[in-house]
Amino acid sequence: MKNIKSVLLLQDGTAICGQGFGAKASSQGELVFNTSMTGYQEALTDPSYGGQILLMSNPLIGNYGINKKDFESNKVQVAGFAVRNLSPDYSHREADCSVNEFLADYGVPGITGIDTRFLVRKIRNAGVMPALLATYEGDLDISKLNVDFNYSDHDFVQEVTTKKPQKFGNGKIRVVLVDYGVKRGILNELVARGIETVVVPSFSSADEIRSHEPDGILLSNGPGDPSILTQAHKTIPALSNHGYPMFGICLGHQLLAHAFGGKTFKMKFGHHGSNHPVIHMETKKVSITTQNHGFAVDAKSISQDFDITHLNLNDNTVEGMKHKSKSIFSVQYHPEANPGPHDSKHLFDEFVKLMGGKGR
């Protein structure tokens, strides 16, 4: 790793040189920043980061290595990884390998030793932008590199969703989990509550989903622009007409909004971190939440059938909604955490309650 160099080239022409790590490769993606101070392993493996180069604001990354437990999917999902200071060594009793080795194994390039705060501020002011991350040895003519990437052109969900239905857990209640890029944490929360969970591909039709005879349906998180997932916009209303209790998380929440005639918009730089305060409108109770999204639901566009239940205290964006008469609710944030605070795990209990009680 010593002699590998790396360059991060932004669409606006900014080029930052640093030390390379991970795979010797070149990769493009949307450059986004995350402000979590722990949980880089969970972030790296979060399918919602598909198509994105992840920039960590916390300068010290890799201190506790990579372990066998904290995977949110079975591979590195980010397109590239940009940090201030990748720890040259790591120490933790559970650690299995270093971040460097981990990224190399999955063919993902990284850059370290760069002024990440400068980049965070740049994105904050200019918004997220496409970028290219390349690691190399010897010389590289940076002027010949070209950023040629448009995040909204891609259907990342297709790339990350399960190809065929899979069953997890046992119990009296059965949930169909529509996988738009589900984090393992969500699945674990259901299974831990004694729920038989059938993970189905994002492209499953309403009939296919119904064929599993679910007691409820969970619409998962996932990468990309919710407005282009037109099939889901149709499948969801069809399912809701059958009266299934439904719970949407993150992308699932945005898709619910679309399904009921609402709209989403691309945020300037999104919410990516573990410290987002969300207020519950009814109880005025504040939760600190994990968030990871670049699009948000337009409050004014939300169907009259829904109440807005949660707002983000920082920017007042919609964080949760609930159907006025049906057993449907959704949140923009991640109640499963991983990484981040566990303040909102009770939402899974509420979902279980909607389905008529205890799983086991």
């Binding site: 979590s36 722990t38 949980g39 705060r117 904050r124 305060p277 005025k284 109770k285």
Partner: protein, 1087 residues
């Protein structure tokens, strides 16, 4: 869970609140409570609350007239507080901003029914919750209910139970007294005899006479979570912290990193969940610190303790994150919810968790340079007096900056084995040295149990040292690559020059950096890792790409809504005083903060540079800009180059800032106020002696020696006793009174050693002279003397340790006139602009000049408060060219109709093996102030506030004085007998004073009569008066007597004058009741 306050008072609408401060600075309770207290008072007043503040510490911003509505500089005890409550009738009390002192006092008022009687409600965290958190028994019970694991422990009230339990769980065991401060009285016992020794002290110090005996988790990692919770149960974690030093060392004694560095998110959330569950169950309404220990080899964790109040950790967390914890806690106390409170930094709500994009390191500052005989081993009891904090983008950078911020000489030749385990204050340097000697990370881990990741960082620094060293050679220039790498890892130019060798100097490295364009950049501490636009003007340096601290003028013109100042106003940098240490305490921070405030009023932009996380000066809104940086020439000069200020103020930060004067002026920096030559003229004894001669001002006969034999020559010429001291030192370090040739032989080696190339100063010691000092401001023409103060003890006791009164009580008008004349002459000759402190000794009508310090002294806050005139504000104005006559025409020295006394507190209890006798070397940590109509009452109040009180239930005194004090002892014992004291005395003293009970010497007691130590330990004695002979050997009986008194908590007076004045005060007090008045009530009696 809802809780009531424990006593039934009808809910009163809160419009007036009593805030209890933390009193004098002591080990374990430092400036952090001035910081949090000040912030809390401001937050309360913002919401229209009338704030009644009680604090006995004059050197606090909190006790300034514009921080609270009414300020009582009164002793902190429940009788006095009851008087204040009765007089003021507040509806609420804020118990959580005055440290353990404030908390314990509020609990005492609750328990003895005072709060109920006057219908005063707890605001914020209430008595019930405090009890749950502080009482070991209740807390243990609660943890069991919550299923939060704890170390196996038991509350014990007697030794037998303790012994049995210790055998059950096995040694080592940890002893933690309930309701004490900074782990006082606690420790780790490896066997039964150690257990007994620690318990003897522990039982006595615990407010409830109970201690917790706990299985030792030595070697586990220690982690802290700083939580804020509102009345609705909304909770957020403000900051997580990881102790570099594992369990077994008090967190106040440990190097601490923020945020946590070595835990995975899963572990972090496990501890976060536990912290929130605990804080919720306890019912905290405000701030709370939760400490955990986690076994890094197995992953199991336990909760150690919680502090349901603002603390040293909360101050650190505030400075580390930028989140104003005390402010938010105060708003919560008034019933506000987190989301209703605004985060002044980002403009969003206070309900969020700060994200850091840097590493913060706190490192303690120990007083062992002053207490060289004391045991330097670190444990569960605090011994450090202060701390420095540093911020970097890497751990390595932060660590190097933190060490540099301590302002100490790094020990070079150190034997690692002596300091690793058990750890001493020098462990961090020993780790560096161990790596230099090729020990491995694994070996050091085995030895210290410090996380391998932390050790790896130091290993990396040592590798870099080698890289710099090995890149050197004949005619080789330091490469850009290596220099940049070194700077990014926090190496100072001085350190790089030393390592590279080849005769390269600091300034050459500085030029080379410029040549290579390796310049520091400044980043903002904004609580959100850059996610939101923040206008916090709070910066730290690092070597990165983008510099966010563009010069203040540009910055301001970009910021729209901050135009209370003229866009083009010039900026002035105020250099702070760094970590709190003996001799350089909170007083200087007070001065720097005042200067920042004054600069704003004068239309200048104020920039503070400091590195002490405990203080008000490093609150981000104290100045227009804050640089949290080490105070070395390099770091300060970098900031000056970045800011291009109009000038720099050096005279307020104590010796640390004054020491920069030479190099900064050589580098063309405009120093505001007295110039370097004036400073040098005052500090260089030869030059100063010539000046005094020229001005016709007498000095005690003196001389300067650069070699040993010269010292003996001078001593013989002027005659013993003499005072010897090195030049340019803080608070009389290495200073002593020497009475004969032998003592001089013994001492001179040490004194010369202390100051290296600097000469040793020798003065004739004036026996029994009255020492006086002056704090004044001069504008180059006019001198305004704030006060002529008088020491209660005779000359020879360091002015920082003396009890001091103003106005003077023994000086004649003529003597005062002479002092005024001399002061004017000296100030003018030094070209003094700004503050000056001048010390004199007066004997038989002659006024002798002792020393002049052309800078702020530690009595400036005391004087300012006593006379009601802000001395620093005047000084700041004149430093910027204003004339005293224009500011306050015809300003004369005030002659108050009341008396103000400054007393002091010492760290003797914490520092085992230390003699408590006083001399010319300063040893006190903090000060108190007492005001009264008469000197006696003021003196009594000051002593009372300092904890030197005589238990009225124990009217017995033990007298044991040296020969020269025996005449006075006769008078003293007469006075004490009249007051009804039973008098015990040692043989020599008893013969002189007669009519007393003779106490056998140590070891000479018998069945009928216990010896002197046993007598003290029995607790029958209310006051010990023991004046030590010179020499200070720890084998003398006197030493043992004094230590016994300290450890028994019996007031021990070591100076006959102090004792005399106390007896007189007691006499006066027998006829008067103590009354309470606000400082402004007193000040209005002036002039």
């Amino acid at each position: 869970m809802t809780r009531d306050t424990g006593h039934k008072t009808q809910n009163r609408k809160v419009s007036k609140v009593l805030v209890i401060g933390s009193g004098p600075i002591v080990i374990g309770q430092s400036a952090e409570f001035d910081y949090s207290g000040t912030q809390a008072c401001k937050a309360l007043r913002e919401d229209g609350i009338e704030v009644i503040l009680v604090n006995s510490n004059p050197a606090t911003i909190q006790t300034d007239s514009d921080i609270a509505d009414k300020i009582y500089l009164e002793p902190l005890n429940s009788e006095i507080l009851e008087k204040i409550i009765k007089k003021e009738n507040p509806e609420g009390i804020l118990a959580t901003v005055g440290g353990q002192t404030g908390l314990n006092l509020a609990m005492e008022l609750h328990r003895n029914g005072v709060l109920e009687k006057y219908k005063v409600n707890f605001l914020g965290t209430d008595a019930h919750s405090i009890d749950l958190a502080e009482s070991r028994e209740q807390f243990n019970g609660l943890m069991k209910k919550l299923q939060v694991p704890m170390l196996q422990g038991k509350i014990v009230k007697d030794f037998e139970t303790a012994k049995k339990f210790a055998n059950e769980i096995g040694y080592p065991v940890i002893i933690r007294p309930s309701f004490t401060l900074g782990g006082t009285g606690g420790g780790t016992a490896n066997n039964e005899s150690q257990l007994k020794e620690i318990l003897d002290l522990g039982f006595r110090l615990s407010a409830t006479n109970e201690v917790l005996l706990e299985k030792s988790g030595i070697g586990w990692g220690e982690f802290e979570y700083e939580v804020i919770r509102d009345g609705d149960g909304n909770s957020v974690i403000i900051c997580t912290m990881e102790n570099f030093d594992p369990m077994g060392i008090h967190t106040g004694e440990s190097i601490v990193a923020a945020p946590i560095q070595t835990l995975s998110d899963r572990e972090n959330q496990m501890l976060r969940n536990a912290a929130l569950r605990i804080v919720n169950a306890v019912g905290v309404k405000g701030s709370c610190n939760v400490q955990f220990s986690l076994n890094q080899e197995t992953g199991e964790y336990v909760v150690i303790e919680i502090n349901p109040r603002l603390s040293r950790s909360s101050a650190l967390a505030s400075k580390a994150t930028g989140y104003p914890i005390a402010r938010v806690a105060a708003k919560i106390a008034l019933g506000k919810k987190l989301h209703e409170i605004k985060n002044p930094i980002t403009g969003t709500s206070a309900a969020f968790e700060p994200a850091l994009d840097y590493v913060v390191l706190k490192i303690p500052r120990w007083p062992f340079d002053k207490f060289s005989r004391s045991n330097r081993k670190l444990g569960t009891m605090m011994k450090s007096t202060g701390e420095a904090m540093a911020i970097g983008r890497t751990f390595e950078e932060a660590l190097m900056k933190a060490i540099r911020s301590l302002d100490i000489k790094i020990p070079k030749a150190i034997r690692p084995a002596m300091h690793l385990n058990p750890a001493t204050d020098q462990r961090i340097y020993a780790i560096f040295e161990a790596f230099r000697r090729c020990m491995s990370v694994d070996e050091l881990y085995k030895e210290t149990k410090i996380s391998k990741w932390f050790l790896g960082r130091i290993h990396r620094l040592v590798s870099l040292e080698r890289e710099i060293q090995s890149s050197s050679g004949d005619g080789v220039q330091l490469s850009k690559h290596i220099l940049l790498e070194a700077k990014r890892n926090g190496f100072s130019d001085v350190a790089i020059a030393d390592l590279f060798g080849n005769g390269i100097t600091e300034s050459q490295i500085r030029s080379l950096r410029r040549e290579y364009s390796i310049l520091p950049t400044y980043k903002v501490v904004d609580s959100c890792a850059g996610e939101f636009e923040a206008l916090t003007p709070y910066y730290y340096s690092t070597y990165e790409y983008e510099n966010e601290a563009i010069t203040i003028q540009l910055h301001r013109s970009k910021a729209k809504n901050q135009s209370h100042l003229d866009e083009k106003a010039k900026s002035v940098i105020v250099i702070g005083s760094g970590p709190i240490r003996i001799g350089q305490g909170i007083e200087f921070d007070y001065c720097c903060t005042h200067a920042a405030f004054a600069l704003r009023d004068l239309g200048f932009r104020s920039i503070i540079v400091n590195n002490n996380p405990e203080t008000v000066s490093t609150d981000f809104d104290s100045s227009d800009r804050l640089y949290f940086e080490p105070l070395t020439f390099e770091d300060v000069m970098n900031i000056i180059e970045n800011e291009q200020p109009y000038g720099v103020i050096l005279q307020l930060g104590g010796q640390t800032s004054i020491n920069l004067a030479k190099k900064l002026s050589e580098n063309g920096v405009r120093i505001l106020g007295t110039q370097f030559d004036g400073i040098d003229l005052a500090e260089d004894r030869e030059r100063f002696r010539e000046l005094c001669n020229k001005l016709g001002i007498p000095q005690p006969p003196n001389g300067t020696a650069t070699k040993e034999h010269e010292a003996f020559g001078i001593a013989e010429k002027i005659g013993y006793p003499i005072v010897v001291r090195p030049s340019y030192v803080i608070a009389g370090r290495g200073m002593a009174i020497v009475r004969d040739r032998n003592e001089l032989t013994a001492f001179i080696t040490e004194a010369v050693d202390v100051s290296e190339k600097k000469p040793v100063l020798i003065d004739k010691y004036l026996d029994n002279a009255i020492e006086t000092e002056v704090d004044a401001v001069s504008d180059g023409g006019t001198l305004f003397i704030g006060a002529i103060m008088e020491h209660i003890e005779p000359a020879g006791i360091h002015s920082g340790d003396a009890n001091i009164v103003l106005p003077s009580i023994r000086l004649s008008d003529k003597e005062k006139q002479t002092i005024t004349e001399y002061s004017e002459k000296i100030a003018k000759s030094l070209g003094n602009i700004g503050l000056i402190n001048i010390q004199y000794a007066v004997r038989e009508g002659t006024v002798y000049m002792l020393e002049a310090n052309p800078r702020a002294s530690r009595t400036v806050p005391f004087v300012s408060k006593a006379i009601g005139i802000p001395m620093v504000k005047l000084a700041t104005a004149v430093m910027l060219g204003e004339k005293l006559d224009d500011i306050l025409p015809n300003l004369q020295m005030p002659s108050p109709s009341y008396f103000a006394v400054k007393s002091v507190v010492f760290p003797f209890l914490k520092l085992a093996g230390t003699d408590i006798g006083l001399g010319p070397e300063m040893r006190s940590t903090g000060e108190t102030m007492g005001i009264g109509d008469s000197f006696e009452i003021a003196y009594y109040k000051a002593l009372l506030a300092a904890g030197s009180f005589v238990d009225p239930k124990k009217k017995s005194v033990l007298l044991s004085v040296r020969d020269e004090d025996k005449e006075n002892a006769v008078q003293l014992s007469k006075l004490l007998s009249e007051l009804g004291f039973k008098i015990y005395a040692t043989k020599g003293t008893a013969e002189k004073i007669k009519s007393s009970i003779i106490v056998p010497k140590i070891g000479e007691g018998n069945t009928k009569q216990s010896d002197i130590l046993e007598l003290i330990k029995s607790g029958k004695i209310g006051l010990v008066i023991n004046t030590p002979r010179k020499g200070g050997s720890s084998h003398t009986d006197g030493f043992k007597i004094r230590r016994a008194a300290i450890e028994k908590g019996t007031t021990c007076i070591t100076n006959i004058s102090t004792a005399f004045e106390l007896a007189k005060a007691l006499k006066k007090l027998s006829k008067h009741d103590l009354e309470v008045s606000t400082i402004s009530e007193w000040n209005s009696h002036s002039k």
